[in-house]
């Protein structure tokens, strides 16, 4: 049986709030609380602090504090740093949707919506709510980590293939959110974007040598360097596990992958990253092939994400083989 969620819906249109109330009854009686503005929503969240909300439905276009500002404010609250937030938008403009994802949105639904669509989106986020989680944690890259997972402590180990969350880095979102984002691109014909991935070379060596805490720090620093290197371009990025960072770019920017890789590696070389014993870590990345999303539809969009992931992994393997061959040639020489 599916767990019921406690949901806060925020929209300045009372008709939307009434519709959502009816929809919630129809899809199985989630507990719904409503607010008509961002300011009211923050008050309601505070009032419900003892039994926090498990999901947010937020209108993007509202007077005063809009939905993008609201999701940013919600993310700043410790209790809701990872609570699923579905944006409600009547707009197809990509810039609003991008901003919402960058601010911390998990998914979005386009208005006017249908009950079946809303049910599907709620079903997707429901599995991210702790109460709906199986007790055994899955560790493979294809399975997103729970949204509500606690922040790691020094003692907590993470799996190499785990798509861990990297907070507080510009344009870096959870892998689940990126998957939702690219899926929505197909639905809204927002074509023209490109997907590619970076792979951190010798990630297994770093993983074996470092504690979970240090490994997470290495990934966060690498993410920050990649994000900073791409500043000035519109993109969203996530960590997909196994040293892979997947990037979705805005239409119009087709990066030169070699130059981008060199720029990131130069920035990494200039960044001082240390483990807990003070030894300097020197991560380097390779890039896979860029994949244009034009004409991709349905499941092929997610396949493109997987292809970009695989391409970067293969590039990392090739790089190490090439380096191995160089040593062999020198030894024989």
């Amino acid at each position: 049986m599916e767990a019921k969620m406690k949901i806060l819906a925020v929209d300045d249109d009372p008709i939307i709030l009434e519709l959502l109330t009816q929809f919630m009854d129809a899809v199985g009686g989630h507990e719904l609380v409503t607010a008509e503005s961002g300011a009211e929503a923050l008050e309601v969240i505070e009032q419900h602090a003892m039994a926090p909300f498990e999901c947010f439905l937020l209108d993007i276009q509202m007077p005063g504090m809009d939905g993008v500002e609201l999701v940013r404010a919600i993310r700043a609250l410790k209790a809701h740093a990872h609570t699923p937030a579905i944006m409600l938008t009547a707009m197809s403009e990509k810039r609003y949707i991008d901003s919402a994802f960058a601010a911390g949105a998990t998914d979005y639904v386009t208005k006017p919506f249908e009950v079946t669509e809303l049910k599907t989106r709620l079903g997707l986020v429901q599995r991210l709510v702790p109460a709906a989680q199986p007790s055994t944690k899955k560790i493979f890259a294809a399975t997103p980590q729970t949204e509500a997972a606690p922040l790691p402590t020094q003692e907590q180990e993470i799996a190499l293939f785990e798509p861990i969350s990297i907070p507080d880095v510009d344009n870096v979102i959870r892998h689940t959110a990126l998957e939702n984002y690219v899926t929505q691109l197909s639905r809204n014909s927002l074509f023209g974007s490109t997907i590619f991935a970076f792979s951190v070379r010798r990630i297994e060596s770093f993983y074996d040598a470092l504690s979970g805490f240090e490994f997470r720090g290495l990934l966060a620093d690498t993410a920050e360097v990649i994000s900073n290197t791409m500043q000035g371009h519109q993109f969203l990025m996530s960590y997909a596990g196994n040293g892979i960072f997947v990037v979705v770019t805005e239409s119009g920017w087709r990066p030169d992958m070699e130059k981008l890789k060199d720029a990131v590696n130069l920035a990494l070389a200039q960044t001082e990253i240390y483990d807990n014993s003070g030894e300097r870590l020197q991560p380097r990345v390779v890039t896979g092939k860029p994949i244009r999303l034009v004409w991709k539809v349905g499941s092929s969009i997610l396949q493109s994400l997987a292809d970009a992931h695989s391409s970067a992994e293969e590039a990392a393997v090739r790089k190490e083989q090439d380096l191995g061959n160089i040593w062999m040639v020198r030894e024989y020489g």
């Binding site: 939307i16 519709l19 009816q22 409600l88 009547a90 006017p112 919506f113």
Partner: protein, 119 residues
């Protein structure tokens, strides 16, 4: 009626939507006329933005309540306002006013049908 949805309680939401539509229709008409009579582009823009916000709300819910045609026309009118404001001139204001007039008329027709049914 288009796209009839079978959901308990939805009829009450539809009634409320139509009740609000009468107010929103009047407001759109007033803002449109004020935009036409404005003394400066800034005034015109402010009035059109008010009308756009109302159209935005109608477009966001009409389709979910079975009023697909009204919702599509509201969306088209909203987008027409955005396009006009991006490239504003008195020459492209008149076609927009005509489009909004058609939308206001469409709302009126829908409300008349409702009134006939209930009256």
């Amino acid at each position: 009626m288009e796209g009839v949805l079978a959901m308990p309680g939805l009829e009450r939401v539809r009634e409320k939507f139509l009740g609000l539509l009468a107010e929103r229709r009047s407001a759109i008409a007033l803002h449109t006329l004020a935009a036409l009579d404005a003394h400066s582009p800034a005034e015109t823009e402010a009035e059109l933005l008010e009308a756009q916000n109302i159209l935005h709300k109608i477009a966001g819910t009409a389709g979910s309540l079975g009023f697909d045609t009204l919702g599509n026309e509201a969306r088209a009118s909203e987008e027409a306002i955005i396009a006009t404001l991006q490239n504003f001139s008195s020459a492209n204001l008149l076609p927009l006013i005509e489009q909004l007039d058609v939308f206001v008329g469409m709302c009126g027709d829908l409300l008349t049908v409702k009134s006939d049914r209930t009256g």
